[in-house]
């Protein structure tokens, strides 16, 4: 399969994520958009890895091809941890302010 399709898909997903982050004010939605961007990059990483492994298959061992894929798992694990922390913050915010509007969260400004 042509690599271009993967690139376009992840680019689309990433752009959706960016736009979502920029235009939405709901913290949970922003958060989801960030996840979307992260996963777009992950997707690209997997695709590149596969392509790279295919092109160097002759001289590479099987484990070599899987190296990059493992990175993606790392990223997903770290992202999961990050999500849990982030969601916890949002929950705490909601408890304190009864709002998840990010424009409301500029208390650190002054």
């Amino acid at each position: 399969m042509d690599i271009k399709a993967y690139i376009f898909l992840s680019l689309t997903l990433f752009t959706i994520g960016i736009i979502g982050v920029l235009v939405r004010r709901n913290a949970i939605l922003v958060f989801m958009c960030i996840e979307l961007m992260l996963n777009a990059v992950n997707l690209l990483l997997v695709a590149f890895s596969k392509m790279h492994a295919a092109s160097t298959a002759a001289k590479a061992s099987a484990s070599y091809a899987a190296d990059a894929q493992i990175f993606v798992f790392f990223i997903m694990v770290v992202a999961a941890a990050e999500v849990s922390v982030g969601l916890a913050i949002i929950v705490m915010l909601y408890r304190n302010t009864h709002s998840v509007d990010i424009n409301f969260l500029n208390r650190l400004k002054n």
Partner: protein
Amino acid sequence: MSNIAKLVWLIPVLPLIGFLVNGLFRKNLSKGLSGFIGSSVVLASFVLSVLVFMQVKNGEVLNIHYFDFIRLSVLNIGFEFKLDALSALFLLIITGVGFLIHVYSTAYMHDEPGKDFARYFSFLNLFVFSMLLLVMGGNFVILFIGWEGVGLCSYLLIGYWFKREDYTDAANKAFIMNRIGDLGFLLAVFWLIAKVGSVNFDEVFSAASLAKLSATDITGITLLLFVGATGKSAQIPLYTWLPDAMAGPTPVSALIHAATMVTAGIYMIARSNALFSLAEFTQTVITIVGLATALLAASIAIKQNDIKKVLAYSTVSQLGFMFIALGTGNYVAAVFHVLTHAFFKALMFLGSGSVIHAMGGEQDIRNMGGLHKHMKITSITFLIGCLAISGIPGFSGFFSKDEILAGAYGHGPLLYAVVLFAALLTAFYMFRLYFITFTGKFRGTHEQEHHLHESPAAMTIPLVILAVLSVIGGLVGVPEALGGNHMLARFLSPVVPSAGHHIEHSTEYLLMGLSSVLVIASILFAWSRFKNYTGEGDAGGFGKLLQNKWYVDELYQATIVNPLRSISGFFDRIIEKKGIDGFVNGIGKAVSYGSRQMRLVQNGQVGVYVLLMVIGMLVLFIIQLFV
């Protein structure tokens, strides 16, 4: 090395020891003791000077090198003395007149408290030390050490009564004006170093090094040396400090500001005659400046009412005469006049000191009059001084002034006429001073009149000695025309060439006769005007101009002092504070202003941050793709 050469170092060191003893133990010494120490060290130097004089009078020269002062590969300045006829003569004047003035001071300064008395003598000794260094120095640098040293002592002694602000002002003025001259002197020395690579007199004046100097060099060097001399010897344009210097105690005026220090310029030029004789332009400048100074100072002296100011301007004027002699290449006459002037001017200053002492500090001659009755010795000796300075035949001033006049005549009758006119002014203002002070009726208060008395012996004896010298001092230089053989010229001949111009004896008689008659006429004129002086109103017109010293001080104030202050103020307020500091602080302010503006971007809106981040990424993308 002869025996005397081994002792030469003592000549300056003895006064230095006197200075140190008086200076360090001023609290412990009694007045008598500090006066004794101060005077005896100078007397000892005088004795040694006489021995040196005996040694060098046959043309022997003592060159003594003590140690290397500054030795580089390109320059070697030794701490060295050179004693020849010229310096020996000056040694005698300095230590001889100096000793008399020290003795005189023990009485004159007797009312001072003990430690100030010792301070006075220590300064006076330091002065003698510096002046001796000046004339004994074997190179320009040692000469300069003494040169600045005498300036310093003059400063210290003018400001001796340091509580009076106007006195310390005068002291500052003297020092600063001297420094202006010193700069000229230094530049001349640098010029010599650059071209000749030496400052030693023998080396600089040797034919080999003179050959290395171009005409421009010689003119430049001599002019700069002359600038130095105008500062020290109070010539136009740097003469205004000398009249103000009268703020110092009167013996100081006699020693420093009449007999010795102010003649340093004459000494220096006479010493460098090898250079000056080659610089015609400089000689012309010296003649003109000397002439202008002689006339200007004499004209001012006519209208002064402070007894010391008259003498001060008279000194400036007489120094002008000496410079005329130097400018006309008549070095012997200049040195001769230094000698006779030292006698009669020191005499008159000490006489004026005696008057001031008797008048209880009063210096204004309008409040004096008829003092002859009360203080005969002072009056008669002062009269002798006046006769000598006026150039009455037989007195010392006659011979030296006549020689200057003869030299001037050799350069043209016009020059002669103007110099003669200045000499007539001299006679006029000196006798004006004498008549107003010593004849007529007493015009002071009763209290002062009651207090009038002749001064003690310590003051009158130096007066008498100086008076005798003022009479006979001229005999060392009786010209051939009068049957003499001019011992002085022969004595100085190894160092200083005689004047080039020789005029006919008959012309010389004529000139002498003319000047004598005119001088006597001028004295008689002064007598007719001032014998019954009762005071006069404020002068108007030209008289007022003279009374105010041609407004030269005011001119300097307006053209130099005030602009300097305002420029400095401008530098301080505008360039320093607003300009440079403003710029530096401006950088700081710009940084903090910029930071304050940049801070506004951090408005706490997460959306804005994200937007900026995205824009940043896009920019990077674009740069990556298209640049």
